[in-house]
Subunit: 366 residues, 4 copies
């Protein structure tokens, strides 16, 4: 349904063109002084209008907290929040009230529920992901106290692909690029490609990569709750995601076992034996459980199906119709997915980590 996570659980609500969207975070550890600036920064990275290459919808995306805080310190009770929808131009969508846009969820929602809110995609709009970024930003703050940091970035658009996708760039290097790619040369090429798409009213897919650093060995569960299963479910729940891989991912198909062995080195310390892998083809997980190396994953995003072109379709009466070229659109939705991938990674890892800690162990109060 509309909840994600077990011990750190986000429930979201709201339609794209309703008064607000929002969420409830259950399981936030108590006694954590939250950093509102960090939340604001994360929201800025996702919001429409944040780059010249993304949808022109103009939302301040200020987060209003309704509960769970006392003087900005978490109480351990649910944290509810809302974000206002200010720039919802529903008139743009009036033409769609009775038509089904191809490759959108219009028709499937209608068949499942018998009703839908056509304005702005309603509940199926990527606007919902703003709530994930709020929950992710709070989770990231908790994780940072345990030395866990996460970076997502664009590692491919069109045929421009980062050869070695798993790096750990500074935020500055990611977000100074209109396409969120930390490699300056590739970023320039990608930017041009996306600009061309926009000019043509077309769109293009993208790959977002993510590195999770600092997860201690032993987090996650075997069999059906493998860490990679949880991460895959998290990432595939993001609008427009078409694929997930970790470690060597799809390159596995043509890899030989002898090429991708991650040999161990051994460290003996106060906590007993620690083995570390020299290489990281495994992507930081063995048998569903973190092995202490970076957890590395990538997500493929499809090109948005909202093109600035007239599209043939049908009405809910079964009449052929043409959906006119109009409305705002993102020529490359993968760009805006970057902070969402990071948020979902943060939520998933905190959810797994909380199984191993008492609530009070995350306090950042003196």
């Amino acid at each position: 349904m509309n909840s994600f996570g077990r011990l750190y659980r986000l429930t979201t609500f709201g339609e794209s063109h309703g008064a607000v969207i929002g969420g409830v975070i259950d399981g936030m550890p108590p006694c954590v002084r939250i950093d509102r600036d960090a939340i604001r920064t994360a929201m800025q990275r996702r919001r429409p209008g944040s780059s010249q290459l993304v949808s022109a919808r103009n939302e301040a995306d200020e987060v209003e907290f309704l509960s769970g805080l006392k003087d900005d310190v978490t109480l351990g009770t649910p944290i509810a929040f809302v974000i206002r929808n200010n720039d919802a131009r529903s008139n743009d969508y009036s033409a769609l009230e009775h038509s089904f846009r191809p490759n959108h969820a219009d028709y499937t929602y209608f068949k499942k529920y018998g009703i839908r809110d056509a304005r702005g995609g309603g509940r199926a709009s990527a606007r919902e992901t703003a709530c994930r970024v709020v929950a992710g930003a709070l989770a990231a703050q908790v994780l940072a106290q345990r030395g866990i940091e996460i970076r997502a970035y664009v590692s491919g658009i069109g045929k421009y692909l980062l050869e070695e996708p798993y790096i750990f760039p500074d935020y500055e290097d990611i977000y100074s690029s209109a396409v969120r790619c930390p490699d300056k040369h590739l970023a320039t090429l990608m930017t041009q490609l996306v600009e061309d798409c926009r000019s043509n009213g077309d769109s293009i897919g993208a790959r977002v990569s993510c590195v999770i650093r600092g997860v201690p060995c032993g987090i996650g569960s075997p069999i059906y709750d493998k860490l990679q299963s949880a991460l895959a479910a998290a990432m595939m729940s993001i609008n427009a995601a078409k694929g997930f891989e970790y470690g060597i991912g799809f390159k596995a198909i043509e890899s030989y076992g002898s090429e991708v062995i991650d040999s161990y080195v051994c460290e003996k310390g106060d906590n007993g034996l620690t083995l570390r892998t020299v290489s990281n083809h495994s992507g930081g997980i063995h048998g569903g459980i973190s092995n202490g190396s970076d957890i590395t994953l990538s997500v493929a995003f499809k090109p948005t199906p909202t093109l600035l072109r007239d599209m043939a379709s049908y009405t809910d009466e079964g009449e052929a119709t043409v959906i006119p070229a109009k409305g705002r659109h993102d020529p490359c939705v993968g760009i805006r997915a970057v902070p969402v991938v990071e948020a979902m990674a943060s939520i998933t890892i905190l959810d797994a980590l909380l199984q191993y800690h008492r609530p009070g162990e995350f306090s950042n109060l003196d």
Copy 2:
């Protein structure tokens, strides 16, 4: 933990070299006469020794049902079953009792639990997947009554890839091939490649594709319970899986929106309006909900890290050691994953479908 699914829920147990492995299926619809031959056939497809290219471990893999049946008709109560481990040569593994094999779960289990059953990989062994095949075979029988059929097959090994991965082959075409690839030409090339790997004591990855046919429009949920999330979690829980994609998958990265629109055609029938997509770049799901087209997905499997080569590693005392080249191994584990992918697809789809049906609606009694 060790359960998968909500309304059709499989819980498995057992270590690779214990007396038995087994499972409990909760939520099986009542009044279904089960087809033991179909279960036996599915088990044969997965079991070691079923092809000349897979592990030589010789298991009959007979399924013994303990509950939930009355004269082979389901009661709606839990169906428990066990499978005996007959050919568990634990001596092969005595060398491993205190050593951690690279790229295996030996070390992470040890760090998480402080103890492990080293014999045959213990709980982390792919032997657990036999239980998934049982639950999948029962699910498939229920799905078949609603006109839903599923096929998984190898669509790539090494650089040999099916160009158009999503077909719907006969079982005969899949399982007459030692590599489970229905394309005879490719199968020959793949077979040679895997044979070469075995000769060299090496291993190779594979891609398994799967087509789910006949799912009605409207199954699945939006936001966090998207059908693709459930399928991704299911597939990534299989041993050695490194990636998941559906529809255009990772090809999305270099696709233009204008190329991958799935236009609708409209049919009006007794049940009202039905839209069908002409092409199927979407992979049968829009917004997390089935759209009535084939659901198409692929899974990347890594080469098994068990090579017939000596491997450097460490003991649980931190001493450098060499793990000798010995034991049985699969040069291409993806081959044996084929019925497991099919089983996990069956379980996932039945779990989603049960939300829309009363228990009695799946009866196959007269």
Copy 3:
């Protein structure tokens, strides 16, 4: 955590003296035109100040819906709502910021979370139950379409007990009584008793009974998801509840089997065989599954521990202190629990019922 239910799931948030309390309802069937008057009526029945015998806190308790509706018709998406806290006199509680009231959750929250919102009991306040009434009122509207109706009422205060607790009174007969007891004679005696308690600054317990009428046979699950388990968990989650019983309940201890047999009568109809029990000692449930008779249950509520008397206690520094007699209080919290019991019954029954229905089957649109 802060969610109740599986298929009809309420998540609540908010502290007693924060700006708002609220909730998110996930799983509300689509295409239901909601009845705002019915919600308002239910809220009036619970709110402080609704009877001369309950807390004088004056809250309008207007429900503001944030999502999930289109022109008052449900979309099948989450329904979020907030209720403003207007009359939160936090100064009344400043004396309590560092003291632990006996028999309250002050100390246990502090030990669990290391922090608490002392104002008005924070999250532990019975104010949270207002959110349950919203979700219950929506559920009741859905249930009514399937012919299911629910009535809760006070059936005992002090030694004044309804001899035959399970009746099905009109709302008018319940709510015209200041103590919510439909028996006019008992109600008069109870009212005097509660008045006396208030005069003395004391409080008294109560029994609330509830009858659920119209549930078809076959709802609920055996073993661990028995309907009585779900109802017990629901009722025991209400503030101040100390006991739950159904059918003959605690009278079972001194009942002989021969006295409490519910013989069957048989009706043959179009739907096949129907058995009905002549008597109803069973309380409408056999083996965890509804049998078609009224489901009958009672809940015992303790006297509120907030007395208008000085109370000895300790501060969070371990200093002995006296909590002064001050603040508003309910001399009999069971009275205000009546609509909450009804709400929790509605939520629980709808949650169980949804397993047997497709989403669209609850539409009340033409």
Copy 4:
């Protein structure tokens, strides 16, 4: 469905007259050397034939473990077990194959599933509770390491009631009594009463009380996961349970607030401030969270509806029939429920406790 618990989760299977019943325990902490004698003792306390007053069905109830152990030490993987059904006299039940016994689950199972296993009550038989005792005995062993001990006993049969129900008797005092009541005088009276019932072919209800000692303050959750909600759901899932109460329970109805205040005393120690209640009307829980005092609860059990008398009923064809007086029966099922109440308490408390501990913290290895 057929699972109980979240972090310590029991899934059971098996029909009363199938070959076996059994269960899977998921979440058992690793590195615990299990005590098979303790399990055997617990099983002996529950099994039919264990007292002269309970069903004469003669079962050895030997537990056979299938997985999750290595030399009797837990691996952290699922522990599956089976118990053979040896003395299943199914012929006793052939008369019932097409008849519905009043006050049993025969009819509701039939209406829900359209099929049932009539032999011995099938899945609805109290035989399933043997599996709960296995899981409870393992849980108790883990709890004992943290200083938590649990005692259940009969505190009432007919009008013979322990005045102060919450004591903490030795096992010897409980189980040396045929009625499991530690008060010798009452036990004698109860024994005579139950003997009389058996002579008359009648049955009688009972109250089982339970004290949970040593739970530290701060365990459990507020709002919907209150400890009393979890305990109530656990107890009401036991066959024949009709009511649950904790602390003052149903006596609350006639209690004044001023009578039932649990004043605090304060201890300052190394772990900071500790408040303890002098009295324990609260039953060890405030706001859903343990307060460090004994958790005290009682469960009412109905008289078994299986009488040694002919009973009028109907067949599944709707024909009037008489169910003959025959078969084994328990004149007071509450007696055999004692170890089951204790088991469900152990499972529930361990499940709540595991949220606060890392897996390794329960090891009892040197």
